[in-house]
Amino acid sequence: MLTIRAFRRRWIFAIFLIILALFLLFQVFNETQSANASVYEVQHTLLRQPFQWHPKVSDVVGESSNITVCRNSVQGRQLIVDERGYICYHEGLTSGGCCSAQLGVSRYNCSTCKNNGCCYVYEHCISCCLEPQKKPILQRILQEARDNKEKLLVSVSDPFELCLAKCRTSSKSVQHENSYRDPSAKYCYGEDPPELQLVAT
């Protein structure tokens, strides 16, 4: 036989349990929602982002330069590289942002890049990275980025954007946070981080 007290106790206990369960449910729901949002986004939107391997603009330097519009690397102190892989000085840019035919223009310039895929000059890194022979490396990098769900590299849509992003210094370029692994050759298109240089003693 149940007494009223026992019954009441159970009743309150049940309400308490339910509220607790609801609270936990809500917490878990909320947690997964916010924490998984980025992963979700990467998986469902970014990974479906089309990646176009073929160049978007004409290959020939200076040809009908009034019409051709190129994206370029914008930031350079002196050099600038356009999406076709041509390197020039800022002065050598056409109105469309392509490197125009003039002295000193070179394509797929790897002159400051080392064997490990790290370059002294950011623009050289991009130019070198755009070289068609590098496609397998880029494919591997892209695949790896998708596997690791790296926000930056999975949201690029073509080799130029990929090279632009990959060549930048990143968390992989530093040791002890506030110094470069390699202060000179720090722009890498390859899979490996810059070679670790020992701090001079």
């Binding site: 102190r77 992003a165 968390s171 506030n178």
Partner: protein, 1038 residues
């Protein structure tokens, strides 16, 4: 050192102006003089012929006063004047005035007396007859005349200062504190731009902070375009409220409004809830921001490490990619030399804070940038200031809260910049980090408080509407910050205006920033040209330049070195001229010619005849090292929350007050940014070495020895050094994830001892602290060293203090009896020309960073001794002290890394060795290009940027005339709303929680109904219960 979020949860700052000392005295005195009945002294005066009262800036003894007068009147024949001797008991004590009598009929120009820095005023001597009477205070209260200030009491003296304030036009009695405006947006009149239809549409603004909830009610639905997390915590939401507040100030559209409610918000979570963050997180997040083509980025964060190269490079890369970066200057004020990175970078808009009373907020970091020390001079920062004290913004869970800090001021500017950006989207081609900064700077208004210098307020207070007008008509160009160099303009151009130039002085350096809105890269064509103005004695100054070879990104520097040439060695006056330079950037778009901008930098300096050797002091900057790059620990071991010595140790940063004191005592202080081998000791009376961390070249040691023999005096103010204590103060650095071991103590005592060795002196490795009395002054000795070796015939001051080293190492306190804290020594017989040496063991009482009580008087006394060979009475009758012999002198710590950061030593096979002595800097003076022009008397004009179509910038139409602009206290009337204006805005939060709550409630209800139903359908249970009840009720009666 990790990053800090630059927010201060400050409440009481509102009513505290920074420059309050003089003002507060004055206020107190005003209060005292405002009763209805006033004691009024009436007096009749008559001028006594040929007698003048000379008032000094401090209290000096008889001989010192006489010397000052002699040096001030050195052009006047000695028989032409005499001092009227006072024959009263007070004559034995220091005084602040003298009566001089002119024997000649013709009055000499008394203003030459006033030029002497130690002389405050000169007035004709008057006979005064006073009568007292009480007045009912109905007449106008008149400020005291100068005469009153002559009386000798201390209070009155400060009153005369107050009278000066009273006369200045900008001061209108006591300031009422302004009411805090309800909306920060109306304080900057953002409504006017809103009414023109600009609300931030089409601008991508990034908030790098602690995150933001997806469904915060203050943000318009859909405006939060992206939220990313770069920390190791698996959440995108803000747990602190900092990120929410910052984002709210930029883009909230409800309750507490933000500036650009329709901007696209990109939330970057780079700070954890524990306020941890790493450089590498920032690098990746910045890369993402570049790819997302962010227009405006707010960084309400900062740290002291401007040598974090990966970070600094990345910030450059960011602005080079057209991201306008707005950052908080730091909350480490009112100390100077406290600017935070990245706000101290040329390409970043660094924002300081003010309160709603238009005064610099006390917490706002200030002072020159310290990157350029020791050989150069810092740049002007912050760039602009805006409201950062008790600003209202979004709270974590909706609603509003009030916060203070420069991280509040930063989003105010970032929000304003976003709004501005959207208002000129049609001119997107000309908007870039440089042009936006140029427009903000050129349109900023100087604070009404004229006592605020450029290293505190930058170019002044943000003016949103003028910035809009400037931007509307902006034409790509380069400009300079500061745009002119008027070294006579005080106090705005402090510290330049605090000391005139003279021949033979170390050249002064003005570090001007070039902002180039024409392109991300540019260069200075040819060389800057110095064009002295003939009629303005411009030929008296020599000018030299150093400048950035490439202006990238969007900016560069132009350092102007100014010195007085030989022709003006005995000349006094002002010299004027200007520097012209041409900046060029590559052509853009359809342009065929490169973009070119011609700039002019007007320069005006004040020149005086070279002061005598006894008044010239040299400050050694070369041997001061600081954080970054290495770990140089604090000078006061008690200050555990500020472990680093990071303010630059310059006379214009953390030794600012000491410098001001020396100036007002009549000394001229010059800065040595090169080794001791690079100065002519015969020019200076005293070399001041304070808190040095650097090593010394052997050549320096021998040169200094020779200099001292030939009459140069040296004051060394050292600090603690003890290798055991150094090992104790190592700490784990969050950012670099490494243990940090200091490379020196507070000072580098082993190196100082090398320098002092030829003099037979040395400091010990004891760490001493305590308070003691010296010459009736209380002195706080905070983590200092003691003198271990001193010549027998020297003067030593000993005190019994506490052994702090023992306390740090063992944890318990131990007295340190008879510690030698101060030593004075004359190197050879007086008259033979040898210099004097003074040693003191603790620098904290000269350094503003952790100062408890200053000892500027002691420095003055030491300088009296070293420069004038005059001992103050307190040091004359001391018992001779014999130091215990054979005390072991401190040695350098095994395995320290000082050689990595030193200019003097380098690592060599595991040991440190001296580098070759560098050549002394030789300046090449620019060939002057003489101009026969007369210039304006006032160089300062609100900076004007060139505009398109040569049309006046400030006539860009605004919907409301300037006169009708609403007052900032006014309530907001025009809130940008969605199309359904008038209707209360509905919250559209994701409906997960309400649904769950409803579900839960329903479940509970169901359960209860079920129980009720059970109760009704089970009568069996009911009966016993009733029985029980009846039993209970009837029990007693049965």
């Amino acid at each position: 050192m990790g990053w800090t979020i630059t927010i201060a949860f400050l409440v009481v700052l509102l009513s505290k102006p920074v420059h309050s000392d003089a003002k507060q005295d004055w206020l107190q005195i005003c209060n005292m003089s405002l009763p209805t009945q006033t004691l009024r002294t009436e007096f009749t005066t008559s001028v006594v012929d040929h007698e003048y009262l000379v008032l000094f800036s401090g209290y000096y003894d008889h001989d010192t006063r006489l010397r000052y007068l002699q040096s001030a009147l050195h052009g006047v024949p000695a028989r032409a004047w005499s001092v009227v001797e006072r024959d009263n008991p007070a004559a034995l004590y220091p005084s602040d005035f003298d009566l001089i009598q002119m024997t000649e009929r013709t009055l000499p120009d008394l203003s030459i007396l006033k030029r002497h820095p130690a002389i405050r005023d000169v007035v004709p001597h008057r006979k005064v007859v006073r009568t007292l009477k009480y007045l009912h205070d109905e007449e106008d209260y008149k400020p005291y005349e100068t005469l009153e200030s002559m009386s000798k009491s201390r209070n009155r003296k400060s009153l005369s200062l107050a009278a000066a304030y009273w006369h200045s036009p900008s001061r209108r009695g006591r300031n009422l504190l302004r009411a805090i405006p309800k909306q920060i947006t109306s304080a900057l009149q953002a409504e006017i731009l809103w009414n023109m239809g600009f609300t931030g549409v089409g601008v991508r603004v990034a908030v790098f902070d602690t995150g933001l909830a997806e469904d915060h009610p203050h943000f318009k639905p859909g405006r939060i375009k992206d939220r990313t997390n770069w920390t190791h915590e698996k959440t995108l939401d803000d747990g602190l409220g900092h990120g929410t507040f910052v984002a709210g100030v930029i883009a909230s559209h409800k309750e507490c409004l933000g500036f650009a409610p329709d901007a696209d918000i990109y939330v970057f979570r780079v700070f954890t809830n524990n306020q941890v963050s790493y450089t590498s997180w920032f690098l990746d997040a910045f890369n993402y921001a570049i790819m997302k083509k962010i227009n405006v980025l707010n960084l309400s964060i900062g740290g002291p490490d401007f040598m974090d190269h990966p970070f600094v490079d990345k910030v450059w890369e960011l602005t080079a990619n057209n991201v306008i970066l707005v950052s908080a200057i730091g909350n480490d004020g009112p100390l100077y030399g406290t600017l935070n990175n990245p706000a101290d970078q040329m390409d970043v808009i660094g924002v300081g804070g003010i309160n709603f009373d238009n005064q610099i907020a006390k917490f706002s970091s200030r002072g020159m940038t310290t990157w350029e020390l020791p050989g150069g001079y810092g740049r002007v920062k912050p760039d602009i200031v805006t409201y950062g004290s008790t600003v209202r913004g979004s709270a974590l869970k909706g609603g509003c809260r009030s916060l203070s800090g420069t991280s509040v001021a930063s989003p105010v500017v970032a929000g304003a910049v976003t709004l501005l950006y959207s208002s000129v989207l049609d001119r997107e081609g000309v908007i870039n980090p440089a042009s936006m900064k140029q427009a903000l700077i050129a349109s900023a208004r100087r604070l009404p408080d004229t006592a605020v210098n450029m290293f505190e307020q930058g170019h002044g207070k943000l003016d949103l509407l003028r910035a809009y007008q400037t931007l509307r008509t902006y034409k790509p160009q380069a400009s300079l910050s500061p745009s002119y160099v008027d070294l006579t303009e005080c106090p705005y151009m402090w510290p330049y205006c605090s000391q005139p130039l003279y021949h033979g002085a170390m050249p002064i350096i003005v570090n001007v920033t070039i902002l180039n809105g024409m392109g991300v890269t540019g260069k200075i064509v040819d060389k800057p040209v110095w064009e002295p103005y003939g009629p303005h004695n411009g030929d008296y100054i020599d000018v030299s330049f150093s400048y950035s070879q490439t202006l990238w990104p969007w900016s560069g520097y132009l350092a102007v070195w100014i010195a007085v040439n030989k022709n003006a060695a005995r000349w006094e006056g002002q010299a004027q001229g200007h520097v012209t330079l041409t900046v060029q950037s590559p052509a853009q778009g359809e342009e065929t010619e490169p973009r070119v901008s011609h700039l002019k930098l007007p320069i005006r300096v004040k020149i005086i005849p070279t002061p005598p050797r006894s008044q010239r002091i040299l400050w050694d900057q070369y041997h001061n090292l600081r954080y970054p790059p290495g770990y140089f620990p604090r000078d006061n071991l008690r200050m555990k929350n500020d472990p680093l010595d990071w303010n630059g140790d310059h006379i214009h940063t953390n030794f600012k007050d000491m410098y001001q004191h020396l100036r007002s005592a009549g000394y001229f202080v010059e800065v040595l940014g090169s080794p001791f081998t690079c100065f002519d000791a015969s020019d200076y009376s005293t070399l001041l070495i304070v808190d040095p961390e650097e090593e010394y070249f052997p050549e320096e040691v021998s040169k200094l020895r020779r200099d001292v023999d030939q009459g140069l005096s040296v004051i060394v103010v050292a600090d603690w050094y003890n290798t055991t204590v150094m090992k104790k103060v190592k700490f784990y650095d969050e950012n670099t994830r490494q243990w940090w071991m200091p490379d020196t103590g507070g000072a580098n005592i082993p190196a100082v001892n090398d320098l002092l060795l030829p003099l037979g002196m040395a400091f010990s490795d004891r760490v001493i602290e305590g308070d003691f009395m010296l010459n009736d002054h209380e002195i706080n000795y905070a983590s200092g060293t003691s003198i271990a070796k001193f010549p027998q015939d020297g003067i030593l001051v000993t005190r019994t203090l506490k052994d702090q080293g023992h306390e740090v190492v063992n944890g318990d306190s131990k007295p340190a009896p008879n510690v030698a804290v101060l030593g004075l020594y004359q190197t050879s017989m007086p008259g033979l020309g040898g210099g004097r040496v003074a040693l003191y063991g603790d620098s904290n009482c000269l350094d503003n960073s952790h100062m408890k009580k200053d000892c500027f008087w002691l420095l003055s006394a030491l300088l009296e001794y070293t420069s004038h060979s005059h001992l103050i009475p307190a040091f004359t009758n001391l018992e001779p002290v014999t130091l215990p012999p054979a005390e072991e002198l401190p040695v350098r710590m095994e395995g320290n890394h000082l050689h990595r950061y030193s200019k003097v030593i380098e690592g060599h096979m595991g040991t440190a060795r001296s580098r070759p002595l560098p050549p002394c800097p030789k300046l090449v003076w620019a060939k002057p290009n003489h101009l026969n022009v007369t210039a304006a008397s006032n160089l300062y004009q609100p900076q004007k940027l060139l505009s398109v179509n040569t049309f006046d910038v400030y006539h860009v139409p605004l919907p409301i005339g300037k006169g009708d602009l609403p007052d900032i206290e006014a309530e907001v009337k025009h809130v940008p709303e969605d199309t359904d204006t008038g209707l209360p805005h509905k919250t559209e939060r994701a409906s997960v929680f309400p649904a769950l709550a409803f579900l839960g409630a329903a479940l509970v209800l169901l359960f209860m109904l079920n129980q009720l139903y059970k109760k009704r359908t089970k009568p069996k249970r009911k009966r016993p219960r009733l029985k029980n009840y009846s039993r209970l009720v009837q029990g007693p009666s049965v």
